[in-house]
């Protein structure tokens, strides 16, 4: 499976990874070998196999609609790089 350098750059952007210092061709090659490895699965005939949604043999685990205590706001904001008394502060986001 061939990946162009544009593909790699787009993936990096979507994942918010800064790869500007890295050789894109090299990354593309590594990604390709991972994809090729997974691609081996497509050799199997899965025509009549129901898609698997979980590897576990259980489902239907849920809880009742009950309110539990939240964290103290001080603790919520404790690890934030920037905050005021009430809110996280982040670089401007618009739209």
């Amino acid at each position: 499976m061939a990946l162009s350098t544009d593909d790699v750059k787009k993936l990096a952007l979507l994942a918010r990874l800064d790869i500007s210092d890295l050789p894109v061709d090299h990354l593309a090659g590594q990604l390709e070998s991972i994809l090729d490895f997974v691609h081996q699965l497509s050799e199997l005939d899965t025509e009549d196999v129901e898609p698997m949604t979980t590897a576990l043999d259980v489902d239907n685990r849920w809880r009742r609609d009950e309110v539990l205590p939240s964290l103290d706001r001080q603790d919520v904001l404790a690890n934030a790089p920037a905050a005021d008394d009430e809110c996280f502060r982040v670089p401007p986001v618009l739209g």
């Binding site: 489902d59 685990r61 609609d65 706001r73 401007p92 739209g95």
Partner: protein, 490 residues
């Protein structure tokens, strides 16, 4: 302005916030208006190791909405991660449902605003559960360049209802939204308060222009930020003109331009481009490994069916046939919401007179709760108390005006009916007491007796004033009937 005829094609995506006490995957409260970042836990923060657990009420309310929209409830539904990076989404993904939504393939029928006799069926592609993001506030006023983030809303359950592109006019969209909202509020699925963001609407719109038999589609635009039904109508009207002009002057079509996202500027009354729309693949959906698939059990399906009692239109019809009230009265009561309908049902059933109950509920109860700015659930006079009061009127023990005094007194002083009647000096007057009072009056008023015997039954009215003077709680009707009966026997 337009030269060629065209069809407007609109599909709506409606997010309703489900009426649960806690969030979709954690126990934090969903209460609106709490101080910022006070309903936040490790899960809301996306801290490593925090794991989600599904809120069963969110499943039930979604299934209930699905039933109301004639949807299938597939045997299995599952959760997927929709990846994108935004400061109000600390996990870096939104837990949503991609290929196996909880509700699929339904419809909602509306009256066509252009022709009241015409019903239009609007397809519902799907309705899926997802979590809400937090809120970003842009602090430009304070002169600071950064944004403030409140994560209280993060993780609140949303049901996203996606219609087929079956809508053709802004008016149809408003009719669709009005009916959908009324249904969801009535069934207790959501409060649908646009001001509080518990109902949000996005519209996908484009035009199919007929240029001498050749149909040309304009690029699809998704409009966001429409925070009232009026804005939905205004934004769509504006966008239709804008797209036609864009095609006319720049030649943009669906083949030359991809889907874009526009916002609605309420102040300027224009739509404006926000960003190029991501392709679905850009979100890199994959099944959420932290959550198990859901198979609604037969017991849950049964429970949801039992919650699905009647729709607003059915309630209107029922009130008319069950209590013999007018279509107008039924509409006022049902439109006031499910709590008011339940209150009215209790009063009407308990007092046995639906018409009187309707007039008291509409005039006195609705006015009082409006004055007090409360909901009927918080109203001081219970349905049983009001029914008892109305029964006093039916039994002839209280005149309407006097009953209204009692009602006001109950509200003012916060007392029960018996106490209010005592405070106002209204006591049940003993029958024998009334009898001796009337006998006494008849002996003092021989002319009234003669007049009545002479065929003028109205003359008995002269006694009523005197009776009330002697005993203010003497019931006028009882005095009249008793006097006529005694004269007849004389």
């Amino acid at each position: 302005m337009s030269q060629y005829p065209f069809t407007t094609v609109i599909g709506l995506e409606v997010h309703v916030q489900l009426k649960t006490a806690s969030k979709l995957f954690c126990g934090c409260s969903t209460e609106f208006g709490a101080p910022p970042n006070t309903h936040v836990c490790p899960l809301c923060l996306g801290l490593p190791g925090a794991l989600p657990v599904i809120n069963e009420k969110a499943l039930e309310l979604s299934a209930l909405a699905g039933l109301a929209l004639h949807c299938d409830l597939p045997p299995v539904t599952k959760w997927d991660r929709k990846q994108y990076f935004y400061p109000d989404l600390p996990k870096g993904y939104q837990t949503s449902q991609f290929d196996m939504p909880i509700c699929a393939d339904g419809f909602l029928e509306i009256e066509d605003p252009a022709d009241a006799n015409q019903t239009v069926r609007i397809g519902i592609i799907r309705a899926h559960l997802e979590e809400d993001a937090g809120k970003s506030m842009h602090d430009e006023v304070a002169g600071r360049a950064d944004s403030r983030i409140d994560l209280n809303r993060c993780g609140t359950p949303l049901l996203e209802i996606v219609s087929e592109p079956d809508l053709r006019t802004a008016e149809q969209c408003v009719a669709f939204l009005t009916k959908l909202r009324e249904m969801m509020v009535h069934l207790g699925v959501s409060d649908c308060e646009m001001q509080e963001g518990s109902l949000r609407v996005d519209a996908n719109v484009n035009l199919h222009i007929d240029r001498n038999g050749e149909v040309i589609a304009t690029p699809i635009v998704e409009i966001k930020n429409m925070n009232s039904f009026r804005n939905v109508a205004a934004a769509l009207a504006y966008e239709v003109d804008r797209q036609y002009e864009e095609w006319e002057t720049k030649g943009h079509t669906i083949k030359t331009h991809g889907k874009r996202t526009f916002g609605w500027d309420d102040g300027k009354q224009v739509t404006y481009p926000q960003r190029e729309k991501e392709e679905s693949a850009d979100y890199r959906y994959f099944p959420c490994p932290d959550l198990l698939p859901v198979r609604l059990t037969e017991a849950q399906r049964e429970k949801v069916r039992s919650m699905f009692t009647e729709l607003p239109q059915q309630a209107r019809e029922r009130l008319q046939s069950q209590y013999d009230v007018t279509a107008y009265d039924a509409d006022v009561i049902v439109s006031a919401g499910p709590e008011m309908l339940a209150y009215y049902d209790s009063v009407a059933t308990a007092c046995g007179d639906g018409k009187r109950a309707s007039s008291w509920v509409q005039q006195d109860v609705m006015r009082s709760i409006k004055e007090q700015g409360i909901s009927v659930d918080q109203f001081a006079i219970s349905a049983d108390q009001l029914a008892a009061l109305i029964q006093c009127i039916i039994a002839g023990e209280l005149a309407n005006n006097r009953a209204r005094d009692v009602f006001e007194h109950m509200l003012d002083k916060g007392v029960a009916m018996d106490q209010a009647m005592k405070d106002l000096g209204i006591e049940q007057v003993d029958d024998s007491e009334i009898e001796s009072l009337v006998a006494d009056l008849l002996s003092k008023n021989p002319r009234v007796v003669d007049d009545v015997k002479g065929g003028n039954a109205k003359a008995v009215g002269a006694l009523i004033g005197q009776a009330r003077k002697a005993n203010p709680n003497a019931n006028p009707q009882q005095v009249r009937e008793l006097a006529l009966k005694m004269i007849e026997q004389m």
